[in-house]
Every structure is written in C-alpha cells, then in structure tokens.
C-alpha cells in the first residue's frame, strides 16, 4: 500500500469508530445536538424583537439570521466535542492502541476530523429542519446552501484540529474547558445577536478583527441569497486551518513522545 492509501485506511477506520460511538451513545450525541438546538430556540425565539431596532438591516428574518450563527457555532462546538472524545481516548488508554496500530499517525487525526464533519452534517440537518418547521425563511439557492455547508464543514475541521492539538498535549478529559473556552469566547466576540455595525463598545472593536465575524457574515449572506465576504472568509479559514494543522501536528508529536 502506498503511504497515502495507508493514511486513508487509518483515517477511515478511526472515523468509523468515532462515528459509530457517537451515534450509538446518547451521552455523546445528545449534547452536540441539544446545545445548538437550544441556542437556536432561545436566541431566535427570545431575542427576535431586536430586529426592530433602528438600522437592523438583515432582510431574511431573525430566525434566519440566528440560523447562520448556529451553523457556525454547532460546527465549531462539534469539533470541540470531538476533542473531548480524543482526550477521553487518551485518558482511558485507547489512544495508545491507536498509536501502536496505525503506521501513519496523521491518519488518526484525519479520522477524528472526518467524524466531526459527519456529525456536523447530521446536526446541521436537524437544526435546519427545526428552522423550517418554525417558519424560517431561506432566501438562498441550493448553491448558496451548499456554500454554507462547505463553510460549516471547514469550521468543523479547523475546530477539531484545534481541540485535538490540546487533547493530545494534555491527554486528560479535564482539558475540556481549555478546548472549549477560547472557541466560546471567540464566537461570542463576533456579532452574534445583531449585525456588526450595531454591536457597541469594545466588543465592536474586537469583532471587527475577529475572523468569526467574516464567517458569520458570509453564512448570513448565503442564507439571504446575497453572498458576501466569501473571499475574506475563505482566506481566514485557510489561514486558521493551516495554523491548526501545525498545532495538531505538534500535539501528535507530543503524544508520541509520551508513548
């Protein structure tokens, strides 16, 4: 087998196990599903009045506005939850089995990443259906929706690599908050509830330079059928992805050194 084929077989094996675990264990699947659903309900339901504020210029409705945020949030958190699973694998020793069995260990990380992406598709489908049931407007075409999906999957992969880098360095489930908190803060320092120009104070200054702002605006553009910030989002994602690849590779080396 070529090196590439070997990596692929390792990745597929790890992905299969991880997906299998996630879908056969309620305790793993439910949080990653309920979190986004709950935020969707709480934000779209409770805060929709804010769309009447002067200068709120998103035209496809507040549910749609929040759905775009939930897509990004669910994908990012799905990656972080996958990081929890990696940490658990290290804590319970299963990861050592993987490290021993896999000739190409990069395949392990890729496998986890694939599983996170599959889970993201599942969660997004459920949330999308929930949105449609509640009367969410979808002004984007199928092509726009696919664009949104691609964006979400890239976020999922990047977040998984970020969390994996920590999980493989700390190798304990107690590392959970270390993976989650930065993602959480980065997400909420973006225009979550209103368009950027309505965000006040210091958060506005931070949000202007927060890559998640571009991602949110692109996602909202796709849903509204008015694509925007695509080049900037792609560039941000490419840069983040490259950084997290290096970060995860360092983590893998650290795990290998620890045996």
């Amino acid at each position: 087998m070529s090196a590439l084929a070997r990596t692929r077989s390792v990745a597929l094996a790890v992905a299969w196990r991880s997906i299998h675990n996630a879908f056969s264990n309620k305790a793993i699947l439910l949080p990653s599903l309920l979190f986004p659903l709950f935020f969707f309900i709480a934000f779209a339901g409770g805060l929709s009045g804010i769309r009447n504020a002067p200068d709120f210029d998103y035209r496809s409705g507040y549910t749609t506005f929040q759905f775009a945020f939930i897509c990004i949030q669910a994908s990012a958190f799905g990656g972080v939850f996958t990081g929890f699973a990696i940490a658990a694998d290290f804590e319970f020793g299963f990861a050592r089995r993987l490290l021993l069995a896999a000739p190409n260990r990069a395949g392990i990380v890729i496998g986890y990443m694939l599983s996170a992406m599959v889970r993201a598709v599942f969660v997004l489908t459920v949330v999308f259906c929930a949105g449609l049931v509640s009367g969410m407007r979808v002004d984007g075409s199928l092509g726009h929706l696919l664009g949104l999906l691609a964006l979400a999957l890239a976020v999922s992969a990047t977040a998984t690599l970020w969390a994996a880098g920590i999980a493989m360095r700390l190798r304990t489930m107690q590392a959970g908050p270390v993976m989650q908190m930065p993602v959480f803060i980065a997400l909420f320092l973006a225009p979550v509830f209103v368009p950027l120009h309505l965000v006040a104070g210091w958060v506005h200054d931070v949000a202007r330079y927060n890559p998640f702002t571009a991602l949110l605006e692109a996602a909202r553009g796709f849903m509204a059928g008015e694509p925007t910030k695509i080049g900037l989002s792609a560039a941000c994602l490419a840069a983040l992805f490259a950084l997290t690849v290096l970060w995860a590779r360092g983590g893998l080396r650290s795990a290998e050194r620890a045996g």
């Binding site: 779209a44 409770g46 929709s48 804010i50 504020a53 909420f188 209103v194 309505l198």
Partner: protein, 263 residues
Amino acid sequence: MTALVHSAWPAQVGLLSGRAIKRILRNPAQMIFPIAFPLVLLAVNAAGLDAATRLPGFPTASYLDFALAVPFMQGALFAALNGGQDLARDIEGGFLDRLAMTPIGGAALLAGQLGGALFMGLVSAILYLVVGIAFGAGIASGAGGALVLVLLALAISFAFACFGTFVALRAGTGEAVQGFFPLFFVLLFLSSAFFPRDLIEQEWFRIIATYNPVSYMVEGIRSLVISGWDGQALAQAFAIAAIATVGFLALSARALRTRLVRT
C-alpha cells in the same frame, strides 16, 4: 434525639457550615471559572445586545443595567450546584455516614450544608454588585436597594441550594446533581432574563417566559437596578424564592430521612 442534642444545635450548624466554607475556600481554582463566566457573558451581551435599548418601550438606556440581574441568578445557580455536589461527594465517600454516627440532628445537618451555599451566594452577589457598579451600572433604588438586592440574591441562592440538596440526597451522586444544572440554564434562557417580556415577539416564547418562575426572580432583581422600589416585583421575587425554599426544604428533609434511615 435527646435534649442535649438540641442544645448543641447552633454549635453543630456552625461547625458544619464552617467546614463547608473551608472546603470552598481551599479550592479557589474551582471557583474562578464559575464566578468569572457570568461576568464574561454579561460583558459580551452588554455590547452585543446594546441595540435593544433603542427599541421603543425598552425600559432602560443601558443594556448593562438591564442584564445585571443575570449574573446574580447564575451565581445563585452555581452556589447551589456546588453545594449539591459537595453533599453528593459526602454521600458517595461515606462522610455522611460518619456524620450520622455523631449525635447530630437532621436539621442541623441540612442547615450546615446550606450554609456553604449561602456563603458562595453572598460572595458572588457582592462581587457582581461591585463589578457592575464599577463598570457603570446604576442602582436606581440606591444603597438601600443594593442591600435588598444582595438579600434577594441570597434568598434565591438558598432556594436553589435547597433544590440542589434535594437532588443530592435523592440521587446520591454528583453526576445527577450536575445533570440537573442544564435544566436551570434552560429555565434562565427561556425567561425574561435577556429581553423584556413585553418586547418578546414570538408568542410561544412570551408564554413560556410568563409562566417561568425564573422570570420573576430576574425581574425582582432587575427592578432594584433599573426602576427603583417596585413593591410588586420584589414581592413576587421573594415569594417565589420562599415558596421554592419551603417546598424543596420539605422534600430535602424527607430525602434525608430516607437516606439516613438510622434508628
């Protein structure tokens, strides 16, 4: 129980509360995140939802003032969670059995346990008040109102802690206590904590928020911050806290009897 036990009641409560507080203070790292997180959320929301203050009918010009009530609720919640988990650990580790072997009354046991949660509630309430004022929140009801605010936050902490104690005694595991935490989180988010009830557009959400008792606790605290002395809002908040306290305390007492079927 003997007369001797009753005479020692305050001393026993003091000892057990002291232990609960010591336990909290000796693990400060565990407190930092839960106490700081509501402040982060407050800071982010104050900026992110500031536009809401420009809505016609929004009760205040500063979203920080409007949302300041939320950290108090979260602080109370955390105090209850922490207390419940400590009690569950006592049950799991057998420490409760050790206490049961001493001539201590069930009421003293509960009171000592709740003392720790009350302390946590007090510390976080004062902190949130100070931080809120430092960042420009005004307390419309003045210094006296600030005092009542802390009292109300304590009453709410106590009510939640009674619930946490009940779950811990009933289930006997920290996981079960932890498992109930999201429920309160959901109740908080499905209340009027982030948006005034009369400005909530979605009818189903407004109905949930109207029937959600957490809304009235939040509104009681909020009234002191944004509108001064509002007798009705305060009465409702204190009444709900009192009813929850009595109910969960009764349930806790029963659960304690079941758990400690000592003869």
